[in-house]
């Protein structure tokens, strides 16, 4: 524990020996993970291996059966409600389904966390909301309800709600699922821009390999309840680990085309 505490400032997000079971199903088994400021860890892996469960531990939506979770050096496990609020101010979570409040317009949804935080004036909130809406090309849909827009637009709106907070760490759960390749590349560029501009820590859970290689500073394969290997994108692509090879079966071993930002 003392070692962990001394290491904590190094990582924005740190998980140590995290175990989690649902009934007889061991989802996480001694999972370790570190993400520092400016780093983007992409977690890939088969469906149902516990990738989203890992993210939910970081924001305290789930508690581990054992192990430690630290965000910006602060323990998440056992944190009081007020301490969790503090931690969650640093970490934004983009949900797989978008999770927009269904009876609020896109604009109100995006403004919601800022309005609730009550730190900015209405004018400042409006300006920031307009800015992020424009960045994902969603200005025209701002006054529609989530049910009135497409799945891809909902995804972009959810991304806006994350970006508007300007957090120190962002967790993206399947940010491009349901998006067309062009929009997928736009989202990838946005994620990378945010990392470059704000140097926040990010974890991206995805099955979208082009996105993974585009935004990652390191990639981990979630397998058997833990991250089998965490490697820089080039090394990940060249890895001889059989599970990684199986996962990358259709991906080329050379790095140039996918690691380059082909859309920009």
């Amino acid at each position: 524990m003392s070692e962990l505490a001394s290491n904590a400032p190094m990582s924005m997000i740190q998980l140590r020996d995290v175990c989690k079971s649902f009934g007889a199903n061991d989802v996480l088994r001694n999972l370790d993970l570190d993400v520092a400021e400016g780093e983007t860890l992409v977690i890939v892996g088969r469906s149902g291996t516990g990738k989203s469960v890992t993210l939910k531990h970081i924001v305290g939506l789930l508690n581990p059966d054992s192990g430690d979770v630290h965000v910006n050096g602060r323990p998440v496990v056992g944190a009081s409600i007020d301490e969790l609020r503090e931690i969650r101010r640093d970490v934004a979570y983009m949900f797989q389904t978008g999770a927009l409040v269904n009876w609020m317009t896109v604009r109100t949804n995006i403004a919601l966390p800022l309005v609730e935080a009550r730190q900015l004036s209405a004018k400042e909130i409006d300006e920031r909301v307009e800015e992020v809406l424009a960045s994902v090309g969603l200005s025209e849909a701002a006054d529609l309800l989530p049910a009135e827009i497409s799945g891809g637009m909902r995804k972009r709106a959810a991304l806006c709600r994350v970006l508007v907070l300007e957090p120190r760490a962002i967790l993206y759960d399947e940010p491009t699922s349901g998006l067309d390749p062009i929009m997928s590349r736009t989202v990838g560029r946005l994620i990378r821009d945010v990392q470059t501009t704000h140097r926040c820590a990010a974890i991206v859970v995805t099955h979208d390999l082009p996105l993974a290689f585009r935004v990652a500073t390191k990639i981990g394969l979630h397998d058997d309840g833990k991250l089998a290997e965490i490697l820089p994108p080039d090394e990940f692509r060249r890895s001889d680990n059989p599970t990684i090879r199986e996962f990358l079966a259709d991906a080329p071993r050379r790095s140039e085309p996918l690691t380059q930002d082909s859309e920009s």
Binding site: V91, T97, A99, V101, W103, L112, P113
Partner: protein, 270 residues
């Protein structure tokens, strides 16, 4: 022996879950009430929205049920009373029964079926689609944001709707008395007022009216809290939302009956 232990363990688990569930609902009620004054200004729009939803949407049903309840009461009582030559006494009984018992009870049932079930479905859908998780991640107080406005709105609207239902019930009873029992409208309404005024309570206000309205207020608070509590704890997709709605409706009905009796008993004692 093992099967007996397993049976006891299973019953114990059910009891523990039931107590946990009840504890969550009671805590939610107190947490909501604690947020009314400090969060009123921030949430006034949500509260107003909910008051419109809770008040306007069930109004047609409450009105129709009110009129017909009064008509049925007048008809059934009137036939029996006419046999003993006391048909004009129907107004005394209808007034008291409607204001004291039937009005709050019927309105409570309607609000459970229409407003409470909708609240559970709405919050349940939010729960299963990760919207509640998202609010939690944004450090948004879901009790203040979602529950308190609903509880307050229904607590305010339930007695108002009950009063409207009661008045329409009396009108329905008056029409039946006039057409079927040959009791004049003038006599009917005069006797209703006399029967209500005969029993003054606090500040000279008719006891039948305010006891009924207090009951309706409590029912509104209970229905909203139970419905929100079930919605917040819904899990397991559409099936889970359906189960939550069913449980919320059943529990609300039971609470209306049980708490209604306890309040009636309490009002008779004081």
């Amino acid at each position: 022996m093992d099967s007996l232990i397993a049976l006891i363990a299973a019953r114990g688990r059910v009891l523990r879950l039931a107590l946990e569930d009840a504890g969550f609902t009671v805590r939610l009620l107190f947490e909501s009430l604690a947020r009314v004054v400090p969060h009123m200004r921030r949430r006034w729009r949500f509260i107003l929205d909910q008051m419109i939803v809770c008040g306007l949407s069930p109004l047609p049903v409450v009105s129709i049920v009110g009129v017909f309840t009064g008509m049925i009461l007048a008809l059934q009582l009137g036939i029996e009373l006419a046999d003993i030559g006391q048909a004009e006494r129907v107004s005394n009984i209808v007034g008291i029964v409607l204001f004291r018992e039937m009005g709050p009870f019927m309105t409570g049932m309607i609000l459970t079926a229409s407003v409470g079930s909708a609240m559970t479905a709405e919050l349940g859908t939010m729960a299963v689609s990760e919207e509640l998780d998202a609010l939690e991640c944004m450090s948004i107080d879901t009790t203040s944001f979602l529950v308190m406005p609903r509880v307050l709105a229904l607590t305010i609207m339930a007695p108002i709707l009950t009063f409207i239902g009661n008045i329409l019930g009396v009108v329905g009873a008056a029409l039946v008395s006039k057409t079927q029992l040959a009791v004049s409208l003038d006599l009917f309404f005069r006797q209703v007022l006399e029967s209500l005024e005969a029993d003054p309570g606090f500040g000279g206000f008719p006891e039948e009216i305010y006891t009924g309205l207090i009951k309706a207020t409590v029912f509104g608070m209970l229905i909203a809290t139970i419905s929100c509590s079930k919605g917040l704890r819904a899990s397991g997709g559409a099936l889970g939302v359906g189960r939550a709605v069913r449980l919320a409706v059943v529990r609300s009905f039971l609470m209306i009956i049980v708490v209604g009796y306890m309040l009636s008993w309490m009002f008779l004692l004081i």
